[in-house]
């Protein structure tokens, strides 16, 4: 009972495909401007990226960020969003926004959330009063937010759940909820609804779900329910299985994925879009993400390290003052972390910039058809020794024709 093909408010312009792996480079034309794929999307949960002004976020190179529907639904609330005219105007962000459905936060943040066929039942985090979030509510909220990409409400359960029957129920329910979302979506000509493939770690369920979802012909497709503590090689198998069944001309978004190595491998498996709070959250704990791994700058070893956060990094913090940057040192971050919020802002800028520029380099490598060597170089920098390469990455990359341990 799939409805007729829905209008799309995006164009996916494929620029290059890796001749070895499944990696793709593209431009995604969205209502608020083009974005390069593959892309990492920082998460501005409550319409603000952790202390950064929209202008600072823009300067990291970001043109597509996330807002969370659940949080915006609570504050400022739908009435305010309607009165102001949507989230772009609300946060003065001239570029693209993607919103999730709000379902994931219910289940992950709220102790007592219950999923039923009509929607997600939960208690208000403010006064404990019972509430219900339905697919229709979620879409209505996202219509009010006005985000460029909106997500269907899905039935998310932990991939590690052993209950296959429940998993199947969740997968099937997610398909039914997509139909309700499509029917409720008021502005398909200016907001792109993405479906979300569920099915846990069971590849048959995933394939079945992919088939159903693809038939609904949404402008983009997300792979959901992952990044919930499952083994990394199982994660890779799911992404690989799903992307193999997906149409080439649509963007593929793997939800909640954010470690640099996860992104690099997932790109090789054919994924295009990623989001995660990790780079921004970890910045607030004083962790700098670099090509050589994560540096915990709260460690006293950095108190007298007057080198930049990452040598050669082009973010405003790391660039020397001679090049118009700030020349911020590891020692200064050590000095302010957890003591002044400005320290968190600086490191957030660096971390977001790192991930965006990593995606840019990956994209260039795909365009120049040298993604396999790019991947090898990336892992060599991240781990000083091949013996430390994570097994899941070696296995997953071997599956798409890259021998990480070879020369």
């Amino acid at each position: 009972m799939a409805p007729v093909a829905m209008p799309s408010a995006l164009t996916y312009e494929l620029l290059a495909k890796c001749s070895v792996t499944k990696a793709r480079a593209a431009i995604l034309h969205l209502p608020h401007g083009p974005v390069p794929l593959p892309i990492f999307m920082p998460v501005a949960t409550q319409a603000s990226l952790k202390g950064l002004t929209p202008e600072q976020l823009e300067e990291t190179g970001c043109r597509l960020c996330l807002n969370n529907t659940y949080h915006l639904g609570l504050k400022p609330g739908q009435a305010t969003l309607d009165a102001i005219g949507g989230a772009h105007k609300f946060q003065s962000w001239p570029h693209n926004i993607l919103t999730d459905s709000g379902g994931f936060q219910m289940v992950s943040l709220l102790k007592l959330a219950k999923v039923a066929e009509e929607g997600v039942r939960f208690l208000s985090p403010h006064d404990g009063s019972p509430m219900l979030l339905t697919p229709e509510h979620s879409i209505s909220l996202q219509n009010s937010i006005g985000s460029d990409i909106i997500m269907q409400l899905d039935d998310v359960i932990a991939t590690t759940s052993p209950d296959l029957a429940r998993m199947e129920e969740a997968m099937e329910r997610s398909v039914r909820w997509l139909d309700r979302c499509i029917a409720a979506h008021k502005y398909p000509e200016r907001q792109n609804l993405f479906c979300i493939i569920q099915g846990g770690l069971d590849l048959n369920l995933r394939r079945q779900c992919t088939k159903e979802m693809v038939a609904r012909d949404t402008p983009g497709i997300a792979i959901g329910g992952l990044s919930g503590g499952e083994a990394k090689d199982e994660y890779c198998r799911v992404v690989d299985a799903c992307t193999s069944l997906l149409p080439e001309k649509k963007p593929r978004y793997v939800m909640g994925v954010g470690y640099p190595e996860d992104l690099i491998v997932s790109i090789a498996l054919g994924a295009d879009m990623f989001d995660c709070v990790w780079p921004t959250r970890t910045a607030r704990f004083g962790n700098a993400v670099t090509a050589n791994g994560v540096l915990n700058l709260r460690n006293a070893a950095f108190s007298g390290d007057f080198s930049s956060i990452e040598e050669g990094c082009q973010c405003v913090c790391c660039r020397p003052k001679e090049d118009g940057g700030l020349g911020i040192t590891k020692a200064y971050i050590y000095h302010v972390t957890a003591k002044e919020t400005a320290g968190a802002h600086l490191l957030t800028i660096h971390n977001v910039h790192y991930l965006l520029s990593l995606m840019k380099s990956a994209r260039t490598a795909i365009m120049e058809d040298r993604y396999p060597s790019f991947v090898k170089e990336f892992f060599r920098k991240l781990y000083d020794d091949k013996s430390k390469f994570p097994e899941w990455a070696v296995t997953a990359l071997k599956g798409v024709g890259v021998d990480l341990l070879g020369d």
Partner: protein, 476 residues
């Protein structure tokens, strides 16, 4: 009326716009050879660990017009003297300040170093003959006058404020203690001056390192009780000092005439714009103003100008000095924080967003208000300088007092998390300074199953009605 220190290349010049009598407002230009120029009266931005709270260094460059900052040494020296502070290991090119480089301060911004934060947290231990009590990030410690003088030499700020023996937090100070204050402060001034002079002798004149200027403290006690100190400042040290750090604005009445021409930096923290204007009327030149950041943390956007807006007839009610951005009335307001304000927050954002950021406890809320509040102060001081130059200051002050309320609005909302260096501990058993960020909802499960829920066809407005969206606003 410039003041070249006798044995160093001319560093700091201070020129008054016109000759002024004591106890009258004055306007001037303070210029440092490094390139920093400040039109006075003006203020120094107060930093915490090298940054104006909430303002990262890139925003400082792009979205503030702050010409000078005040930095406290106690923010940087951790376990001195047992451990060399990390900053002391940073070397800087001959003509640069390691402190300036460390905190990424632009070279055009005047860098003023003092021993203690503004305002200082009172310390439990008393000062000694050779050291003052301070609060570093590792707890209450002491710094000796010798170590302070050495820090100035090493860090090379543009201006260093001499160490003063002031028992902060002590309500009543006995006469004997006051005697000691001036004796010690004099001794410590001699320490820092001889350190600096010694430094200059070891270097040939032509390639002399850029040095620093010294501001001498004027203690918050009567002139009689510090008369020896003041006499010695005039007799022995006047050539070595480039300015005064004034802890009680009333002392402007009693300054020796030899010290009248040099710039005056106030550590007599004004608590309102009116009190600030009063200090200016006495001839104060530079300020450190804690109420700017205090208003920001309280979510109050300053909203005043000098001279005040002209009104055809006196307003019935006095106008508030600030806008409480926590109020729900701003929820859907697309207005800027202040009309006519050209700061980043007012030109790019609106009240609804800033109110949301506060209520969602997003850091950006305080960032935007802090940028705005500093912009308001910039315009306020520009108005004051114009008013002094056109000789209308006294009348404008009267108009200001008639137009605005006496005090800043009361804080209603919650501030950002407070840190240890922002309050005085009251000892064992004190309550938590920050409320817990998270709590679990442990309501009984039954309430969930028994609850009425909207039917399938309900739209999000039903959800809102039962509290999804706006419930938390009801009480405000």
């Amino acid at each position: 009326m410039s003041i070249p220190p006798s044995n160093a290349p001319e560093m700091l010049t201070f020129n008054l716009l016109f000759k002024t009598l004591p106890l009258t407002p004055r306007a001037g230009t303070l210029a440092h050879h490094s390139g920093a120029t400040i039109q006075t009266p003006h203020y120094l931005g107060i930093t915490s660990r090298g940054a104006i709270p909430h303002i990262s260094q890139d925003n400082f460059r792009k979205h503030t017009a702050i010409h000078g900052v005040y930095v406290a040494l106690e923010d940087f020296i951790e376990k001195l003297p047992q451990q060399t502070p990390p900053l002391y290991h940073l070397s800087a090119p001959a003509h640069e300040s390691s402190l300036r480089n460390f905190i990424a301060l632009p070279k055009e911004t005047l860098l003023v170093l003092g021993p203690r934060r503004a305002p200082p947290v009172p310390c439990p231990a008393a000062n000694t003959n050779s050291a003052i009590s301070i609060l570093t990030s590792v707890g209450f410690r002491q710094i000796s006058s010798q170590d302070y003088a050495a820090a100035a030499e090493r860090l090379r700020p543009d201006i260093v404020v001499g160490m003063a023996d002031i028992p902060f937090g002590q309500e009543v100070i006995g006469v004997k203690r006051k005697d000691k204050m001036s004796d010690r402060t004099e001794l410590w001034m001699r320490d820092i001056i001889s350190k600096k002079s010694g430094l200059d002798k070891t270097v040939k004149k032509e390639d002399a390192m850029p040095s620093y200027d010294i501001f001498a403290p004027i203690l918050p006690v009567s002139r009689e009780l510090q008369s020896w100190y003041l006499e010695h400042l005039v007799d022995d040290m006047v050539d070595e000092i480039s300015g005064l750090a004034i802890y009680d604005a009333q002392l402007l009445d009693e300054l020796p005439s030899e010290l009248q021409h040099i710039p005056r930096l106030s550590f007599d923290f004004p608590t309102s714009p009116q009190k600030l204007l009063y200090q200016i009327s006495l001839g104060m030149d530079l300020f450190t103003i804690p109420f700017i950041a205090e208003a920001t943390d309280a979510g109050i956007a300053l909203d005043f100008s000098f001279p005040p807006p002209s009104v055809s007839d006196t307003p019935f009610e006095k106008t508030s000095l600030g806008v409480d951005m926590w109020l729900a009335t701003h929820s859907a307001s697309l207005a800027p924080l202040s009309i006519n304000c050209s700061c980043y927050a007012c030109t790019k954002h609106h009240r609804a967003y800033i109110r949301h950021l506060l209520s969602a406890k997003e850091m950006l809320g305080w960032v935007l208000i802090q940028l705005h509040n500093h912009a308001i102060m910039d315009a306020f001081f520009a108005g004051i300088r114009d008013s002094i130059a056109s000789n209308t200051f006294e009348d404008d002050c009267k108009a200001f007092e008639a137009f605005y309320e006496v005090d800043l609005p009361e804080k209603t909302g919650q501030g950002p998390r407070v840190r240890g260096y922002q309050f005085k501990s009251t000892g064992p058993g004190e309550g938590k300074k920050n409320p817990p960020a998270y709590r679990m909802l442990d309501d009984p499960k039954e309430s969930l199953s028994e609850a009425l829920t909207p039917d399938e066809n309900a739209d999000a407005s039903d959800l809102e009605r039962i509290g999804f969206a706006e419930a938390e606003d009801k009480g405000r």
